[in-house]
């Protein structure tokens, strides 16, 4: 099994490209053929196929078979891991520092809240 950290490298690396994020956004509306994914971009078909390979390597899409089509569908599971990783930093952004300090003091004073 691939180390979790390597998997994160692949997932975040895949998300680092705007074309690939746009492909995922498109796939959120349902599966698509490669040509359907090529259409909105001014990029060649081989280039999109390469992006799809990166997404597939990260586990973010999977491919089917339907005659000469290889429909692409979203597989969001790896995003759950990525979300969890980022979530560990939530306390650093969703409260101002003062509020965070107050919150921590409140925790210490009262015990476990929601």
């Amino acid at each position: 099994m691939r180390a979790a950290s390597q998997q994160m490298d692949l997932v975040f690396g895949a998300l680092a490209d705007p074309t690939r994020r746009a492909i995922l956004a498109r796939l959120a509306d349902g599966e698509a053929t490669v040509n359907e994914l090529v259409a909105p971009f001014e990029l060649s078909q081989p280039t999109i196929s390469k992006h799809l390979k990166v997404l597939e390597g990260a586990g973010l899409v999977s491919r089917g078979r339907n005659a000469q089509f290889r429909p692409v569908r979203l597989n969001a599971k790896p995003l759950a891991e990525a979300s969890r990783w980022i979530g560990d930093y939530r306390r650093f952004w969703d409260e101002s520092l003062d509020q965070l300090e107050a919150y921590v003091k409140d925790l210490q004073a009262k015990g476990e809240p929601s």
Copy 2:
């Protein structure tokens, strides 16, 4: 102002490297000097400095000044954006397939385009 999409390229690109993720994890415990960040790795100081530049370019860390030290501290705000982006896909992983299908059917019943 930098386009939001470019900012995401930088943030996800920064997170795609395990050394940089480890640096952020370390900074969650408080600010650190460059040498303190070098110590846990078998990487040279210039290499860590380069990673810090990438993190700074993504807005994920900021630098202070204290004598000859340039303390590095976490700036998690850009992670909020990244989290929001990923969050748009939450419904694809935090519900069972049956529930997802029900959700899609519900959308279709309400006339939401696919």
